[in-house]
């Protein structure tokens, strides 16, 4: 198996981008990443794109071919383009499949991208589309919503471990503080714990400010064999681990409602593959689709003991200058969550940090970073470890 490097990145502006279509936003990301890498179209061997639900959001399937076409890679070059889907982990999965392709030796230059166009339909229709990531027949039909499922995780976490609404709110406060410094973030406003607690209740105990927003956006990274990465860039970032794990589709079938076992397992597999431990990680982008999800993620990945994530967050340990900076991009909460793009955006953020290009969000001396992307209420988890050093 060959070592793989990321040689180019681009994330588009995240937000409610009514003036931009899916095909235009993903083209912008792809072209940007190619320019960043100095790669020509002729060099591309394959495109892998993560997209959760073009069918439901814009009534468009066959997203791979559409993207190849609008990127000018279909009519003459006939570059193969494959769409992968694992709900909100589709982007992470696209990165993982791209790494497989390059590591295997089958392809050299691969574009791993992610895109979602969510605001062409009403927010309630978008919520219904997202609910398809849970069990439609045995959760959705009972009136379950995504905030509802994570609210049930939060309720039990509070009951078992004494986690408080204030501690949940602190996740959103910290992520908004980070998002202020991220030019592509959907929100550039700081919020307070009181703002979160005073915002409307969506699914008790989660307020609207405990929830990530509905977002349009795309991101792309260019993958290459590590041996030729320096031909393209002075600052390649190396893939030290890629891992993925599954769990039950329905939350009610989990061994422990407050633990995302797929995250635990994907995390362990990644650390094993990279021969690293949580203490070696300088920063991590986790899947904070809801504030409770970030608390579970830092526990389940092993950065803090189970049940102590709330207190750990409240003490400031996950801030940019904390023990383990979490979601320097602003996370899903403040940067936005175009579901298929999120996993790729997370990797792009880590690359920017490891290159030392993250401006006011920069984690000093960052050498090793991690990404954690979740599908549904935890049925899929995808984890990557990236490093400046091969």
């Amino acid at each position: 198996m060959r070592d793989v490097a990321i040689i180019g990145i681009k994330t588009t502006r995240f937000g409610e981008n009514w003036d931009i279509s899916l095909r235009d936003t993903i083209t912008e990301a792809g072209v940007g990443a190619l320019e960043d890498a100095g790669v020509t179209g002729e060099e591309i061997d394959a495109i892998i794109v993560g997209n959760m639900s073009g069918g439901q959001f814009i009534e468009q399937e066959h997203i791979g071919a559409l993207i190849a076409d609008y990127a000018g890679l279909a009519k003459e070059l006939h570059v193969p383009a494959t769409r992968v889907e694992a709900a909100c982990a589709s982007g992470g999965l696209a990165l993982r499949q791209g790494i497989h392709a390059v590591a295997s030796g089958l392809e050299d230059i691969v574009v791993a991208a992610g895109v979602e166009k969510m605001t062409d339909i009403s927010s309630s229709s978008a919520s219904t589309a997202l609910a398809a990531a849970a069990d439609r027949e045995w959760e959705g039909i009972m009136g379950a919503t995504f905030p509802g499922l994570y609210a049930m995780i939060a309720r039990l976490h509070m009951h078992k471990y004494g986690t408080t609404s204030e501690q949940l709110a602190q996740v959103a406060v910290k992520n908004h503080a980070n998002g202020v410094h991220n030019p592509i973030a959907q929100y550039h406003n700081k919020i307070s714990v009181d703002d979160v607690l005073r915002s409307i209740m969506v699914a008790d105990p989660l307020h609207i400010f405990d929830c990530s927003p509905i977002t349009d956006g795309a991101a792309a990274v260019i993958l290459a064999p590590a041996d030729i990465a320096h031909k393209y860039t002075d600052t390649p970032v190396y893939v030290k681990a890629t891992s993925q794990a599954s769990d039950t589709i329905a939350l009610h079938d989990r061994k422990d409602i407050t633990t995302l076992a797929a995250t635990v397992e994907a995390g362990k597999r990644a650390f094993r593959m990279a021969k690293l431990t949580p203490g070696d990680i300088d920063l991590v982008e986790v899947h904070d689709c809801f504030t409770i999800a970030e608390i579970c993620a830092i526990e389940d990945l092993g950065f803090v003991k189970k049940g102590e994530g709330g207190k750990f967050t409240e003490e400031g340990n996950t801030a940019i200058d904390g023990k383990i900076p979490v979601n320097t991009s602003g996370g899903l909460k403040s940067c936005g969550h175009p579901v298929g793009a999120t996993g790729i955006k997370q990797a792009a953020e880590i690359v920017e940090q490891l290159r030392g290009d993250a401006g006011k969000r920069q984690v000093n001396g960052a050498e090793i970073g991690m990404t954690h992307n979740v599908g549904g209420s935890g049925a899929t988890a995808v984890v990557h470890i990236l490093s400046r050093n091969r």
Partner: protein, 129 residues
Amino acid sequence: MSVPRFWRKQVARYNLIGTHCTNCKTYYYPPRSMCPKCRRDGKTENYKFSGRGEVLTYTVIHTAAEGFEKQTPYVLGIVKLEEGPSLTSQIIADPGTMKIGMKVRPVFRKLGESGEKGMIYYGTKFVPE
């Protein structure tokens, strides 16, 4: 949800019928065609649950799923049945009285409908004992 998709599991939804694996003695609800523990070695048969159970966790939904707007606020919970498996259902109770660990029993109720002229879905919800 389309008529055939609902109809296929209608009996299981109406009567809380799930699966029992006679090989590993584990009970499953919702029903499964293959025992996830024994996989190909499993032997599954239908099993009607008593429906008695306790609330493992719950939420009060204020922003409803599409089609549930008129029901807000409603309580959604995960109920652990006495035979072992857990399921997601609505709990018909004053949100203020909800507690983790409270005992519940099943009731036959309307779940929703496919628009004004579509089919009405019925199934099992829960009430405090």
